[in-house]
């Protein structure tokens, strides 16, 4: 009885180990950063998304089946200038009265090289859904991991900067987005 129970337990553990679901990871906000670099008159105009969250289900050894979900509170966008921070709330830009949040969802994560992955998914920004590929590196040690990467978006694909602003001058069309996110395995 005792032996059988232990045997069953061991078998169960083994089978769980074989098909172990990918771990759930939560974000350490204080140690994470999501920033972007727009351009004005071809000069870098950087900004930070001060409030965002990342939820991830991921096994770096078996990335397929992983799932990434990022939400960004656009009201907490900071371009280090009170005037600019005020201006980007307007309908021509983020239109914060109607769209408070941006979202990226991916359930298609692949490894491209050791510790390098891409997450293909949908970015929902200002009411527009667009397929986006997010490359990232993964540095994990035990229950902590850092994922980092960058990508370039065309702001007009999402209607960011409408009307006269839709031309690439004086505010450029391409915006680089950079992230470095510290994740902790959910207990």
């Amino acid at each position: 009885m005792n032996l059988r129970a232990r045997l069953a337990g061991a078998l169960l553990l083994a089978s769980v180990g074989a098909t172990a679901p990918a771990a759930d990871w939560g974000m350490d906000a204080a140690a994470s950063r999501l920033e972007f670099i727009a351009t004005y008159e071809r000069q870098a105009a950087p900004g930070v998304f001060r409030r965002f969250n990342t939820r991830l289900r991921f096994d770096p050894e078996r990335p397929q089946g992983g799932r990434l979900h990022v939400t960004v509170m656009l009201a907490n966008t900071d371009m280090d200038s009170t005037d600019i921070n005020e201006a980007i709330r307007a309908p021509e830009w983020f239109d914060l009265a109607r769209f408070q949040q941006a979202e990226f969802t991916s359930s298609d994560i692949r490894r491209t090289a050791p510790r390098q992955y891409v997450a293909r998914g949908v970015l929902r920004l200002k009411g527009v859904n667009r397929e986006v590929t997010v490359p990232f590196t993964w540095d994990g040690a035990g229950d902590t991991a850092v994922m980092a990467g960058e990508l370039t978006l065309d702001r007009t694909a999402f209607g960011i900067g409408t009307g006269e602003w839709a031309a690439g001058d004086p505010i450029g069309l391409h915006v680089k987005v950079k992230f470095k996110v510290t994740l902790r395995k959910a207990g």
Binding site: E41, D80, S81, T82, I84, A87, W165, D169
Partner: protein, 184 residues
């Protein structure tokens, strides 16, 4: 003659005077347009023109002050009342101060507002202060106050020049005009 004498202004002094006169009036128009234009690429471009012209004026006034200190200053006509001499000296000093202070306060606004800016789209202007909303608001008020002071002082300056020419019939205005004053 390039250099000033006790009787006449040299060509560089005249060129600086009239170039800056034209730029200062252009600057009034640009500043007013830029401030009142609705937020649009045009507004940003008007500000680039206004800020660039301001930096150009700051460079010119620096050259002008140095040139004035290195040269004799043409004397005022004999027989000018003491109060007019004192008023002329005070208003000219005030004009120089305002021509320096206007671009400097503009530069402070640009630095505190932390908006990237390249002079005539050519090279970036370094910041002279950290981003600071309170200081930005203060500098904007001072900039506007200095503009009013400059407009008033220029009114006196131009009025006095016209009075010397048409009422008192001396050569104070004429000797600043191009081509005059070679008789020295």
């Amino acid at each position: 003659m390039l250099r000033n004498t006790r009787e006449s202004w040299g060509a560089p002094a005249k060129l600086l005077h009239w170039t800056m006169a034209a730029l200062v009036f252009a600057q009034f128009a640009l500043g007013w347009l830029a401030a009142s234009w609705r937020l649009s690429p045009t507004k940003l471009n008007l500000f680039v023109w206004h800020k660039s012209t301001g930096i150009l004026l700051l460079a010119l006034v620096t050259v002008r002050i140095v040139w004035r200190l290195l040269n004799p200053t043409p004397a005022l006509p004999a027989g000018l009342p003491r109060w007019e001499r004192a008023a002329a000296r005070a208003s000219h000093l005030l004009l120089y101060l305002l021509l320096v202070a206007m671009p400097l306060t503009g530069w402070i606004i640009n630095s505190t507002a932390n908006i990237p800016f390249r002079v005539f789209w050519l090279f970036p202007l370094p910041d002279i202060t950290a981003p600071d909303k309170a200081l930005e608001e203060l500098a904007k008020k001072v900039h506007l106050g200095l503009f009013i002071a400059l407009a008033l002082t220029l009114t006196v300056h131009i009025g006095a020049a016209l009075r010397h020419h048409f009422v008192k019939h001396n050569d104070i205005l004429a000797r600043m005009l191009p081509g005059k004053g070679r008789r020295a």
